[in-house]
Symmetry: C2
Subunit: 344 residues, 2 copies
């Protein structure tokens, strides 16, 4: 009884390449007491996990990944065997079970059971995307930390990305003017024509001039997924009382040395502005509230689920690397084929 | 009829020196319609004004200072002549009337009348310090933006300075553990022995190691007056949910080029932390509330007014320069002698 895993072959130097990862056959261990065996249905690709691939990156949030271990990543799957009282065969769980077809974990600490909502016809993989960390990050980041009100200008970076497109759509639902920063014209067209963004900025162009043109009264809310130089430029365009929600900093994840931060942080003082970082799991007790809202908006046709799906665990490594080339639109997921290793 | 002013002789290159300023005799102009003449009683010295001495530093907050003009600065004084209906001889006003013995300004835009509170025996100059922008910055920065609760660890930089010592004392009144960062052992002793701070950190030493020792559970609130490298180091010691109130950045005011910002801003994300800049004048409608609290605490003997007073306008320039050498304890004020130029 074997299954396939993708392990960290070596630590990426800068931008990850497919050779940093390797598909291996893994033997299935006997199920220990209090443990649960899960067959993963899909793997979520999240640029943020790049951070913990570095040597010594372990912190209070996550441990550093180890060479030879399955790569850490969020998955959704079905319980196929359980020696834990809280989980039964058939339960759907979302957890950080790694890039593996089958995973065995301690049910006390690792698994989150998902109530599958019958109001919405989505498959299980959506619980990694718009109904999972991606959608929840957009929701809590925008509403709790960005705190926009109708009519304000909301700027989103990596706006065609997994979290950015959802944050921008939510700001539109609220009645804001939404400007998206993205990296190419195809994405820009998608944001304005399909998702209803009011304007876009190409981050490869003169961001400062484009900000002056598209946000003439300043940026009230900046939902930031990239950090780095774009953040520094935006700090010169804040409206009085601006709120910056720091969701991530994809621009810096691959730096081997820490890049300097914005030289103009003092603008926070003169604009009485706030910058707040957040991790969605600190809002765990409000996941259901957020999911209910997201499902309502999807059912009303106001929130579009933008996904890029690949198939087969052999494609996970390459798909992860592609994220840093800005090739994908929306949430990137890899669906797994049912394995022959697990009877069900 | 003449009075003395201190004008900007040239723009400081880096740290200001006394030769950047010059005392001049100025002629008293006739009082135009809607204008008010004020005899200044004291001048406040505020490091933050250094910023607007730079070429092209004008922004939405203040214009850049001009060479040959009286240096911008906050003053408290008495109206000695008025052609404006809202002001009468004898009124006390706090305003940005500059380093001048006598100033003439438009009463519609420039002057703030002060209600002199009889509950407290302080002289007028205190309205530039603990009852003025200094005390109000500590109050609004700490309570609105730092939002400490009893038992939390509050860290204050430039803790023996004008705003810092007040913020630290207020956090003690609230029941917090207060740690002050300062630049020498005399100041450190004053903070712990006279003001009741729990611990101090010498910023000329190993700040990182001292933070580990004095804030073992992390910093819940950082009241920051200095920015720069100290801010970067503190960002590595945040407690979960930390709040940073950015009051100023004295470490960077003298830089001719903008220094890079903190390279570890991403810590705001992993600690779900907030960084908020503020300017006290945006809380103008709550000045009375804050002053009442401050007066009560002073009357109860729980809040000590720490001042460094000099005398005579000829000393303003040198006193301003000394602030950047970290020589002063508490609020620096220059009291002016009544001039012979004004009859009253």
């Amino acid at each position: 009884m074997t299954h396939r895993s993708v392990v960290l072959r070596r630590r990426p130097a800068g931008v990850p390449v497919p050779e940093d990862f390797e598909v291996v056959e893994a033997r299935q261990e006997p199920l220990a007491d209090a443990h649960v065996r899960v067959e993963n249905v899909a793997i979520s690709l999240d640029a943020g996990f790049r951070h913990w691939m570095n040597e010594g990156a372990g912190d209070h949030v996550l441990p550093a990944m180890q060479i030879g271990d399955p790569v850490m990543g969020l998955t959704v799957g079905r319980v196929v065997d359980s020696r834990h009282g809280s989980f039964a065969e058939g339960d759907v769980v979302v957890a950080r079970l790694g890039w593996q077809e089958v995973a065995t974990f301690n049910g006390d600490t690792q698994l989150i059971k998902i109530r599958v909502d019958n109001r919405l016809q989505v498959d299980l993989a959506a619980h990694l995307g718009i109904l999972g960390d991606t959608g929840l990050s957009a929701y809590f980041g925008l509403f709790d930390h960005g705190r926009p009100v109708a009519g304000e200008t909301v700027l989103v970076s990596a706006a065609a990305g997994a979290v950015g497109n959802v944050a921008g759509q939510m700001a539109k639902i609220l009645g804001c003017r939404v400007v998206g920063i993205t990296s190419d014209e195809n994405k820009a067209r998608f944001l304005t024509e399909t998702l209803g963004f009011d304007a876009t900025i190409n981050r490869r162009g003169d961001v400062d001039a484009q900000l002056s043109a598209t946000c003439p009264t300043g940026v009230d809310v900046y939902f930031d997924n990239v950090g780095g130089r774009v953040l520094e430029t935006v700090l010169d365009h804040l409206a009085l009382g601006a709120r910056i929600a720091l969701c991530g900093a994809v621009a810096t994840y691959n730096d081997s040395e820490k890049a300097p931060g914005p030289s103009n942080l003092f603008n926070l003082v003169t604009k009485q502005a706030t910058m707040t970082g957040f991790l969605t799991h600190y809002s765990h007790d409000r996941y259901e509230e957020a999911r209910d809202k997201i499902i309502d908006w999807m059912n009303d046709g106001r929130l579009v689920n933008v996904e890029h799906r690949l198939h087969g665990i052999e494609n996970v490594g390459r798909a992860f690397c592609d994220m840093f080339n800005g090739k994908n639109l929306g949430k990137t997921l890899v669906e797994l084929k049912p394995t022959s290793a697990v009877a069900h």
